[in-house]
Amino acid sequence: MQQQKPIRLFAMLLIAILAVGVLAACGGPEPAAPAEEAAASDDSGEEMAADDGVSPNQAPEFQDMVRNGELPPLAERLPVNPAIVEPVDSIGQYGGTWNTALVGGSDTAWLVRTVSYIHLMGWSPQWEGVVPNAAESVSASADASEYTFTFREGMKWSDGEPFTAHDLAFWWNDQILNEDLSPGGTPGWMRAGEADAIFEAVDDHTLKITFDAPNGLFLQNLATPSGSIFTRVPKHYCSQFHVDYNTENLDELIAENNANDWVNLYQMKCASVPGTPSDSRWFNADLPTLMPWKVTVAYGEGSQLILERNPYFWKVDTEGNQLPYIDRVVYDILEDREVLLLKVLNGEIDMMSRHFNTNDNKAVIADNREPGEYEFFETRSIGNTTGFHFNLNHKDERMREIFNDKNFRIAMSHCLNRQEIIDVLYIGQGEPMQSAIPKDMAEFYDEEWYSLYTEFDQALAHQYLADAGMTERDADGYFLGPDGEPLSFVVQATEAFGFHDRAEMAVNQWQDCGVNAQLSIIDRTLLYQRKDANEHDVHVWGAATGPQIFLDPRHFFPFSRESTFAQAWVTWRTNPSGAGAMTQPEEPPDIVKHQMDLYAQILSSGDQAKQIELMKEILSIAKDQFYVIGTSSSPPGYGIVKNNFHNVPTSMPGSWQYPTPAPTQPEQYWISGE
């Protein structure tokens, strides 16, 4: 027995060596590709199909399925009046896989931006306005409080069940208005007046929504990502998880799915908070959908999320071919952006404009266009690159007084060498710009405001500082506060979007100007935490934004929690009682209250001309108030698209509210063969 021990040791070593040998041996040959499916499916050409009554205006595999009786004919699958899509460049061919990627486990935003733009209303492809999308048409009452939507007859969910007004009524009445399922109540943009909106399914194809008060921005909101919640809940499927509908086997379903209770079960199967992980569209492959592609491998099941063509999709091209052209969309779930960048460089990504598309990366992506066989497309970001938000509601009385002095802020603005920032960080792209309306928006554009206080002039800045009562300097050359005490403030920024680089440059420039600014680069959650708790001096984030001005005028008056310059005033507007708020409400000055009042008027007006007038008044006050110090106009963003990937516009707006590139209708993208 004792003598065997060395043998045991040798055996252990031997096994180890053998195992590695096996590893090495297996590592050698390249695996054979599983099959050449893609090539095979192309053979069943369109011409030869017409005779047997099977419509050639559908994907070849559907033709086969129709022939085999596995699928109803195309005419039965399409609505009576399918939505017609004008292709960007050309009528496409069926086939191909759109390879793209997600980063991490909750990256649903890129999904929202690509495959799920089936809202009732949508933006026109170049963001000129709102057009009906899943709805066939819409009409609104003059006071913007009553909206009537008409749906396409014969429009179906991806499992072939009809899509009707009852689905929306179910969603509203039994999900949103159900206190268990929606403890937060209705979405903010659906609130007008005291009472909840009323959803009434007049018939299968007509839905009437009545608000308690005018809701002037309702249709625009529907076109934003928030609007996706309307058209995603199939009553026939989701009602089985609902306590009011399923009295038979709900408990079994709860047990089967490891849920805690029916609410938990419903949330797992049908929940819907767009852009968050609590979005069952991606995690539940069984959920019927209206999307061009339906999920076949759900998020989190493996290292890919895969969608395949929805046979009941309700859009056709101008020649009547059912969309989408592309067979499958495959999202590689990556852990790191750098891997994504390498995949882009390697030509493994067909079309994408997220995560990898930073200014810094553009150089290396540009260098690799030829071997990677891709090109750039432009995403026009409209607005300002960076805003410096001095905290006007600062908790410290002295700091508040200094920051509230407009002369001080003007001085800070003149201390900034914007051209240097542009040269360093944007390689000269863009121009100095105040936190004002961008040039693209002719309606509101104000030339003077655009360049107000943007000149780099330290002497002028010092004059303004003198006006603010700051003339004395300390031993290090920094200005003392108006009270003669040393003055320093912390500029907080995070690494997202390169804000930290801009902050670093601004801090350097302010120090150079004789102001003791200190840089603090922190985690973005922390950044938000501090902002929400009103614990910041200067917060570095965005400034004046583009066409979503009506929906989100955050930089022009204390509008939402994103109006970082005045958290206490925001609370006063949105939550006057201050219950549960991280920053207690404070009553703003009259002029600010007037802005809030003007915005309330916009909301309750259905008249666009009047809305514009009111907005202009808000903006002129904002110009005078000078809440946020802007930096420079945004250079365009970019995405990449493979050379054989067609119908992607070379330029499109870039914004979350216009969830780039969804309004350009990915269902009409197509891939040409090798």
């Binding site: 040959p29 599983p34 991490g104 109540g185 491998v297 790191d336 959650t525 938000y528 929400d532």
Partner: protein, 328 residues
């Protein structure tokens, strides 16, 4: 022996309980919670979320409750139903997420461990036997080099080289065509074809330290009088080396082998992120960064349990190998 085992198992209970509390506290340490992190993350992409939806989510996640209530609920789930709670970030039960990835993680960890041992033992032995020879200096140098290279940097550079010069598909453990394919021999082969890069990268640091430890242990043992005794018996050098000092030098290894697995599981995390491997490491780091608290806490628990069990296994192995301990 059985009593020893039972006693050890009994000891584990309070330890694990304490760990569960610490695990929960650790994830509460950073400011904010899953929701605020998510909102900040969305804002960083210029995206936003409705207040009402946020309130709903807060309710759904139970984030409004006091911490100790959250903890008790979580523990109750684990103890009564083996339910580790739901991952917020994936909107599904933690157990579904973890087990799937654990298998690949074990494959990777074991392969790395084997690699490390197979490389480190011979070099370590050589290095000790030929102390201060050129070979020893070289092995030492290489070993330290492996220790000194931040391995995430190595991963990135190797990946870039693979792309630039070999035109290889980067990241992951499978070729694209096999990623969601069912398990076949082809897929296994594909896995092994991809496995060597992470194995080598993860292995470098481990190999380096193992060489050092092996060398040091062996040097200690080689100086022991019993080696001279054995030599005086007329044993050939190699047999002497393997029967006595190498065998004794292995003991400190065995006593740490229990730590190795959890270290590989979490330690390889950073490399796995860089290489985008579908293993547990990235899931853990992301859960921590997102404050996906049940997922993160369950992970910490699991790793700790692995460590505690690993220590136990180590002790048993050590007792098996070393009579002095067995007899105690």
């Amino acid at each position: 022996m059985l009593q020893f085992l039972l006693r050890r198992l009994l000891y584990m209970v309070p330890t694990l309980l304490a760990i569960s509390i610490v695990a929960f506290v650790i994830i509460q340490l950073p400011p904010g919670d899953f929701l605020t992190t998510m909102v900040a993350a969305m804002a960083a992409q210029d995206e936003d979320m409705d207040q009402a939806a946020m309130a709903a989510l807060e309710e759904q996640y139970g984030l409004g409750q006091p911490v100790h209530i959250q903890y008790l609920k979580w523990m109750q789930g684990i103890v009564t139903r083996g339910d580790f709670g739901d991952s917020f970030g994936w909107n599904k039960p933690v157990s579904e997420l973890v087990w799937g990835r654990l298998a690949l993680t074990f494959v990777l960890s074991l392969a790395s461990l084997l690699f490390v041992w197979v490389v480190a033992f011979p070099i370590g032995i050589y290095s000790a036997v030929k102390q201060y020879s050129i070979g020893d200096y070289f092995a030492t140098f290489i070993g330290f080099l492996g220790l000194a290279t931040p391995n995430f940097l190595l991963a990135l550079i190797l990946m870039y080289i693979a792309f630039k010069f070999f035109n290889q598909s980067v990241g992951g453990l499978f070729s694209p065509e096999y990623q969601e394919a069912p398990w076949t021999w082809g897929r296994v082969a594909d896995l092994f074809a991809h496995l060597w890069v992470p194995v080598v990268i993860i292995g470098t640091a481990g190999t380096a330290s193992l060489i050092r430890i092996m060398r040091a242990n062996l040097l200690d043992e080689l100086r022991k009088p019993y080696v001279v005794t054995a030599r005086a018996k007329g044993l050939p050098e190699w047999r002497l080396l393997f029967k006595y000092p190498v065998r004794v030098a292995l003991n400190p290894f065995v006593s740490t082998v229990g730590w190795v697995l959890p270290t590989l599981v979490s330690g390889a995390a950073i490399v796995s992120i860089v290489l985008s491997l579908p293993t547990t490491g990235p899931l853990l780091i992301r859960a921590l960064l997102q404050q996906d608290m049940y997922l993160a806490a369950s992970f910490i628990m699991l790793l700790s349990i692995l460590t505690v069990i690993g220590t136990l296994v180590s002790d048993l192995l050590l007792a098996w190998l070393d009579p002095r301990i067995r007899m105690e």
